[in-house]
Symmetry: C2
Subunit: 89 residues, 2 copies
DNA sequence: ATTAATTATGGCACTTGTGCTATAATTAGA
DNA sequence: TCTAATTATAGCACAAGTGCCATAATTAAT
């Protein structure tokens, strides 16, 4: 099999790894402050534990719904999920 | 062709339509307050206009990176994107 | 040092977010 | 009313988020 052919058109994808990383660290800190395990968060949020782990290790770029589910589970305002310093670029 | 077969296992998907809708309304309001067109926002954020339109019409559930790109483009703090009332459930 | 609890990884299937392009629909300006 | 500007929709291709399952790795308790 040939290598998968790259599209001739360069698609610009936006994935701010640094911001995702900063968010990951913040979330993990928040969760611990609330004495919550990933397992509990799974239960409270309805998200899967593997997903939560992947978010906290910055493997993925979660969606709005996911963020809101987490905030609800932690009983905090969604805006609190963003109380962290964004890397400059 | 047969209809696509449903997986035997019921996958629970989380997509909080009401929250996404509330966010959409809030974003559109914010953008207008900043006298910003979708076209300008496309330029400033690097996101595609079609994507912005889909977000503002609550067609999609944007990702964290997308939200941050929008906040940066509007020169606001990401938490401001969440200054809206979440529907109760 | 063992064991239990917690967190992280990996793979698969499926869904969906995104870019790109084009076009339609709506709104604003003349 | 025309016209231009703005916003919304649609379809395609591809990337990536998520659930579920299993297992490995790490950390905490005893």
């Amino acid at each position: 099999m040939n290598k998968r052919q790259k599209s001739s058109i360069e698609r610009k994808l936006i994935f701010d790894e640094k911001a995702v990383k900063a968010f990951a660290i913040h979330l993990k800190k928040l969760r611990k402050e609330y004495k919550c395990t990933q397992d509990q968060l799974e239960f409270e949020s309805g998200l899967s534990l593997s997903q939560i782990a992947r978010i906290e290790t910055a493997k993925i770029n979660p969606t709005l719904s996911t963020l809101i589910a987490i905030a609800k589970a932690l009983e905090i305002k969604p805006s609190e999920l963003f109380n962290f310093e964004l890397p400059d670029k």
